[in-house]
Symmetry: C2
Amino acid sequence: MAAPSTTSSTRERLVEAARELFWLEGFEATSVAEVLEKADANAGSLYHFFGGKEELLLAVLDSYKEMLFRMVIEPAIRDVRDPIQRVFAILEGYRRGLTYTAFTGGCPIGNLALELADHDPEARRRIAENFQGWCGWIQKCLEEAGPRLPSQVDRAALAQFVLAVMEGAVMQARVHGSIAPFDASVAHLWDYFNRLQAEAASAKG
Amino acid sequence: MAAPSTTSSTRERLVEAARELFWLEGFEATSVAEVLEKADANAGSLYHFFGGKEELLLAVLDSYKEMLFRMVIEPAIRDVRDPIQRVFAILEGYRRGLTYTAFTGGCPIGNLALELADHDPEARRRIAENFQGWCGWIQKCLEEAGPRLPSQVDRAALAQFVLAVMEGAVMQARVHGSIAPFDASVAHLWDYFNRLQAEAASAKG
C-alpha cells in the first residue's frame, strides 16, 4: 500500500484544520492565517489547492458528506439492531458530543447552515446535501420499522421532523449550557414515536 | 408629551441598525463601520453609548427581549382564542417571515445562538433569556389548555420541544430555500398535539 503523497496530505491537513476551526469558531471568525497555522501549511499550498477560504469551505462541506456514515451513523448504530432505537441512538451520539465538549461545538452543519445560508449559494447547496444525507439515514431506519409505524406516516417528512428536533435541541443545550433542554426535546420525540407505534400496533391487532 | 431626546434616538438608531445587520449578516460579518453608516451615526456616538460591538450586541439582545411580546407573540395570537391554536399561530408567524423574506434571515436569536454561544458568556446569557421568554409564552398557552393535554405532560419541557421544532424547521427551510421542511416539521408537531389531546379526551370521557 502506497503512503499518502505529500500533496494529498497537505490538502487533507488544510481541510481538517478548516473543518475544526469553522466548527468551533465559525466560518467568518476564522482567518486564513489560523487555518495555515493549524494545518502547518503555507499560503502557497492553500492557493495551490483552493481558490481561497470559500473554496476551502466547500471542500470541508464535501468532507462532512463523506464522513457522515463513518463518523456519525455507524458508531451510533453498530450495536443497535432495532431500527427505531437506531434513530434515537443517532440522537444519543449528539448528546454524547455535547456533554463531552461541555456544550460547545454542537452540530457543525447546523452552525454553518445559520451562518451561511443567505450568503453563499454553493455552500448552501452542500449544506442541504448534508441534511439530505442525514435525513436519508433516519428515513432508512423509519422504513425498516415497516408496520411498526402507521402506514400513512410519511417517512421522509418524519425524518425532517427528527432533524428539526435534533438541531433545535442541540441549539438550546448550547445556549443554556445544560443537557436538560436536549433531553426534554428527545423525551417528547420518544413519546411521539411511542404513540405512533401504539397506533400501528392497535391497527394490526 | 416630550419628543424623544436626540441622544436617546441616536442610541436607538444604533441598536436598530445593529439588530438588522446582525440578523441578516451575522455578528462577526458585521463591521462597526456598517452599523455607523446604517444608523447615520459617527464612531463617537457609538462609543459614547457602548464600549464597542460586543456591548452593542448585548443591547440588541435586550431589545429582542423587550420586543418579544409586541413583535412576535401579540400579532400572532391576537385573533386566536384557543390556547393550542395560539402555539401554532406563533409558529405560523415564523412561516410568514420565512416566505416573506424568501427564506433568508430566519430566527435572529437562533442565528446568534449558534454563532456566539461558545464565545461570549454575556451574550449567551441574554440569548438564554430570550429563549426562556419565548418558551414562557408557549408554556402559558399549554397551561391554559388545562385538561385538554394529559396531566402528566410537563408543560415547560413541552415548550422547549416546540422551540426545538421551530428552530430546526426554520434552519431547514433556509438551507433548502423551501417551506416544505418547515411544514413537514410543524405537521408532525400538530400530529403529536392531536395525539396528546386524544389521550386527554379519552381519560376524561
